[in-house]
Amino acid sequence: MMLQVKKSGFLSLVQDYGRYGHQSIGVTNGGPLDEHAFLWANRLLDNHYNDAQIEISYGLFSVQFFDDAMIAICGADLSASINDIAIKPWQSYKIKAGDIVSFVSPVAGLRCYLAVKGGFTVEKQLSSCSTVVREKLGGIHQNGSKLSKGDCISYQPSQDEIIKYVPPQYRGKYDKEITLRFIPNTSPTSAGKDVLRAFTGNSYEVTSNMDRMGYRLSGNALDTPQKGIISQGVSLGAIQVPKDGQPIILMKDRQTMGGYPLIGCVSYLDLSKLAQSNPGTKLSFTPVDVDEAEAELKIHQTFFGIDLKNSVENSSSP
């Protein structure tokens, strides 16, 4: 049972929940940039949280299904359609053999997730099939390549008939102005309290220099007290201040180590909002207590049944 890619789009990638347990050899996590949308797509289909999907950025992507299937789409509104009949995200849809599902261009948000009942069947590398182009890891060819025209991906057929949708209050909202919560950092390798104060008072814009590794912002340049720090491991969501004083927020494909001073970390759950932000989106930042943010993340992980320990134990890492 399979589908075939008819139009590849700008950046369409196979992603499962990510690659864990290999950072010690420099391998990044990868995984869905908008985790919220990804997890809901699997949830709508009663899939495992780690089941593989396609992350479609910007659109111009279409696939043809050769067998019946139940699919879900969640995340950005990329003017999707089934056989030219418009469909909306945050819902599951019944697919008949021969149907063509297309994603044209962004109406709201940037990245849409296409999931299939049972998940796509993709060989794993280092315990994950997440595609990381830079590392030449993952994807259907196991070389980090993005999806291209003619690629075929297999899935289990499904006779499921029940349509489900995400309750409106849990759907992502993609506004032009967003506030991101962050956990401040004032340790010796941080940019310091003055920079932290200036950062919280400023507002920023998402620049066009944004990808799966990181989002560069622009705004009043921050005056960093020190040029660099001794390279250290970096967390997901870390806010770095490079020499030019314009912050960078590190995303799922980040390098595992960094040498720029830090301001803090964007709260894990708010990164999904950032992942859907267009260049020009206005950002402001507000501090959040680490224990409070942790409690929320734990609720999220429990709700979606996430236990990363499984990912690590199944991995072949020494």
Binding site: G21, Q23, S24, N185, L236, E294, Q301, K309
Partner: protein
Amino acid sequence: MNIIRTSENTVLILFEQVINSANFLLINQQTQSIKRQMTEYIIDIIPSYASIHITFNIVQISGLDFTQKLNEVLQNPHISNEPNTNQTVIEIPAYYGEEVALDLPHVAEKVQLSDSDVVRIHSETIYDVYAIGFAPGFAYLGNVDKRIAVSRKETPRQKVARGSIAIADQQTAIYPSESPGGWQVIGRTPIHLIDYSSKTLTQFTTGNKVKFVAISKSEFIKMGGTFE
């Protein structure tokens, strides 16, 4: 030592912010001890020159409890009495010929030594693997002898060939795959540093010792080296 809660599920242990062997030995011992005593909670661990970054499983343990337990482990490290297999010296064949040593003449000129002196000094030092990062399998080795320490290039190269051996200040490294890079390239190894299909994945782990062994052009070719 200072434990910082960097995010909901990560902590950073900061050691004295200096780069030297003694500090690194301490970090390496603490990393092993943490892995031995806390492995059930740990998702990912990144030891570096002067820090250890840990991602833990918040489904199993709260940040408060994890930090407290980590603190106890750091105060009472389990140092293994077994000989540290980590400390074996790994020999890396290195070809320093002009076809691959693109920046060797520049480095030699900068430090006012001959090309062969730079090569001799680079290959007689035993280096520590301080950290692995930047790219899969990219090992930061130190310390490069001060006599040949040259800072990175003003403008990075778009493409540095796989296996390139390069220096930047007192660090040296091998590019495990072709990538952009700004370090001064002084040689190339024919061996593969990362192989996703092999069980061991990489030649190095943090804490290993590494020595470069100069080889001739014919040996380089025989071992599969290329000049692309």
